[in-house]
């Protein structure tokens, strides 16, 4: 199978997994979620093979243009979720995470994204490309899962406040669970994001551009994202914020991360013009 076909197969498996997870969410069928997990894992295996094949075909890291980066972010998000689902008992995040992954995959497949494996421009010919981009995006994948937990918290908390908690669902417990999961997952992502986005970025910039920091828009937005996550962690750890306020900061922080990933490329001009 060629790389585009594997990508497509993974995409289809993700869609089927999402359908099963939605069945689970709406009809409360545990078995649907278990099968969804298996399909999502199968999709992730094919996706991994697609990425490896891409590396062999192009001869470079699989995140040098928007198509590749979106595909890698989708892969990292699925991988992070598959690891976390069991550990943190967060099955209900599954359907939403899969919808996010499907959105990323769809965006990657859109005709607007050039898919050809182009030879690397001189600035990208470095092993720091591997380290800088992969670690950053894996950190962002954890942020994605954490943000979904925050959104589920907000939904559960709202039901709880309006007294419309579903039958048999102890929403108070559910909301507290999502609140805790959101923090724990973001706390895994934060060191990774710092290492990949800021530290590896600075080391590479020093080697390639002769300056570890240039106030390039992508750099500044990475710093802004880092500040907002820093705010999230400080308000939580030091000031004991929880619940709604905390969840809102997590959502804003993820929006900043998304803007750093997409928005900067299309709206602001700078040194990171290739990625």
């Amino acid at each position: 199978m060629t790389e585009p076909k594997m990508f497509l197969a993974a995409f289809i498996l993700y869609i089927l997994a999402a359908v099963l997870y939605l069945f689970f969410l709406l009809l409360k069928k545990e078995s649907a979620a278990r099968n969804g997990y298996v399909l999502a894992a199968a999709g992730a295996v094919l996706h991994t093979l697609a990425l490896i094949l891409r590396v062999f075909v192009s001869g470079h890291a699989p995140f040098t243009n928007m198509y590749e980066s979106l595909s890698f972010l989708a892969w990292a998000s699925i991988a992070a979720y598959l690891v976390l689902e069991r550990a943190f008992a967060i099955r209900k995040i599954g359907p939403f995470l899969l919808l996010l992954v499907i959105a990323l995959m769809a965006l990657a497949s859109s005709p607007l994204m050039p898919k050809e494996a182009a030879p690397l421009v001189p600035a990208l010919q470095s092993y720091w490309l591997w380290l800088h981009v992969s670690v950053t995006l894996i950190g962002e994948a954890f942020f994605a899962v954490g943000t979904l937990a925050s959104l589920l918290y907000l939904a559960a908390e709202r039901r709880e406040r309006k007294g419309t908690a579903r039958k048999g669902e102890k929403d108070e417990k559910a909301s507290a669970h999502y609140d805790a999961v959101s923090y724990r997952v973001i706390a895994i992502g934060f060191p990774l994001f710092t290492l990949g986005g800021l530290v590896f970025g600075m080391v590479w910039a020093y080697k390639a551009w002769g300056s570890y920091w240039s106030w390039d828009p992508k750099e500044v937005w990475t710093l802004i994202t880092w500040f907002i996550y820093g705010l999230y962690l400080h308000t939580r750890i030091v000031m004991g914020w929880k619940g709604r306020r905390s969840a809102l900061i997590a959502v804003i922080a993820f929006l900043a991360a998304l803007f750093t990933f997409f928005g900067v490329n299309y709206l602001l001009v700078g040194l990171h013009s290739y990625a």
């Binding site: 030879p119 500040f227 602001l268």
Partner: protein, 428 residues
């Protein structure tokens, strides 16, 4: 003074500064013209933040250190049951045996335990990953080192572009040595895209070659505290020459190639004409007002404006394009029967090297290492503490345990479960 320190050590100020710095930074990315990040305002904001971090760290790390070295035993079983993660069980067992079993179970989970006897009760204080408690302090100190490194870079850093044609020598003004560019070449992929720019450099110390090295983007040369980066390149179009092919209509035998310097003129052999290259552009384009401009400095569409002169009088003029010969247009004041083609352009290529010394950089890496080590400790090695009180009550031992962790409550709960189930196996 005291209230100032209280203000600077307050988390509220930190939260306020987080929001302010974020907002100002966002503003700066949308108003690039302001160059906000290099203004004293922005720097003062960062320095205030640094001061806040410093005072917070100093005022908080000392009590934390004290708590760890000289723990307080001032807790009661009713206090422990009120903790977020707490367990109580009663069982018929020997007090000593149960204490030993608990200590073993705690040790199996890698806790280090201290013991205290008080009024017939036994108190255990078990801790794990104590160093993790200093993670945040290490992160904060690392950030201060990074900021200091940044200031050092800004004050002491030197940077200069060296524009060099092959064979030329440039002085590195502050370093006391020179570099000579041996050659510069561009490698291409089969598709025609640039693969690399390579500058072969020789370092000259007092005129003598010290070493020769080829540098590329991502592969700088470090010598004597100076880094040399492949930064840019270009062509010296002002001193270019064009190669023209001239043919005569109806005379296939007449084909001449002449080289004309831009701005100069050359005699066309076997005629009484002199050909001038009036103007050259590497990337020809007509702007809105129909004026000739160059779109870039790359030779994407080289074009030359020529003139044929007889005794100083222009009798023919027009533009020739090397990539699009069919678009060449000349206007003749007198019929000459000549056809012109732009065959080639000769221009020296130069390489732009950035020479940079940055004494702040090593501090940045030290600070980064500290930040990462601190984050690792704080989030992946979060400290855990378990407090236990054992008391004999009516022939049974009552054991109250409480787990405590700011960042790993779930993990402490799991530890508690494991320790309790191991200890309950201990019977008298």
């Amino acid at each position: 003074m005291k209230s100032l320190i209280r203000l600077l050590s307050s988390v509220r100020l930190a939260i306020f500064l987080f929001i302010l710095v974020t907002a100002v930074s966002i503003l700066g990315t949308f108003l690039p013209g302001l160059n906000l990040y290099r203004t004293p305002w922005y720097l003062s904001l960062l320095l205030l933040f640094a001061l806040n971090i410093l005072v917070c760290t100093l005022t908080r790390s000392y009590p934390r250190l004290r708590r760890i070295l000289k723990p307080s035993w001032d807790w009661t079983s009713s206090g422990l049951t009120a903790a977020a993660a707490s367990q109580t069980f009663k069982q018929e067992a020997e007090l000593e045996g149960l204490v030993r079993a608990l200590r073993e179970a705690l040790a199996a989970r890698r806790y280090r335990t201290r013991e205290l006897k008080r009024d017939g009760a036994v108190l255990l204080l078990a801790r794990k990953r104590t160093l993790g408690g200093f993670g945040a302090d290490i992160v904060h100190l690392g950030l201060l080192v990074i900021l200091a490194g940044g200031i050092l870079s800004g004050v002491l850093g030197r940077k200069e572009d060296l524009v060099l044609s092959p064979g030329r020598i440039a002085d590195v003004p502050w370093a006391g040595f020179q570099v000579r560019l041996e050659d510069f070449k561009t490698d291409y992929y089969p598709s025609g895209n640039v693969r690399s720019w390579k500058s072969r450099l020789t370092v000259l110390k007092e005129g003598n070659p010290a070493l020769t090295r080829t540098i590329e983007v991502n592969r700088p040369l470090k010598y004597g505290g100076v880094n040399f980066y492949q930064s840019s390149y270009g062509w010296n179009w002002d001193e270019a020459s064009v190669i023209l092919r001239v043919r005569k209509n109806g005379d296939p035998a007449f084909a001449r190639e002449i080289e004309v310097r831009v701005g100069g003129e050359t005699e066309l052999p076997e005629t009484d004409l002199r050909i001038a290259a009036v103007r050259f552009v590497p990337d020809f384009v007509l702007d809105g007002a129909n004026e000739v401009r160059t779109r870039s400095n790359e030779p994407n569409n080289p074009a030359v404006q020529i003139e044929a002169r007889r005794t100083g009088r222009s009798i023919l003029s027009g533009w020739l394009f090397s990539k699009y010969p069919e678009y060449g247009r000349v206007r003749e004041a007198e019929a000459t029967g000549l056809a012109f083609e732009l065959r080639d352009v000769k221009a020296d290529q130069f390489s732009v090297l950035q020479a940079a010394s940055d004494p702040g950089a090593s501090w940045i890496w030290i600070g980064c290492a500290a930040v990462m080590a601190g984050l690792f400790l704080a989030f992946y090695r979060a400290p855990r503490e378990i407090r236990v009180i054992l008391e004999v009550k009516k022939g049974k031992v009552e054991t109250v345990l409480a787990g405590q962790s700011t960042k790993a409550v779930e993990a402490v709960r799991t530890d508690l479960d494991a320790v309790v189930s191991a200890a309950r196996r201990e019977r008298s």
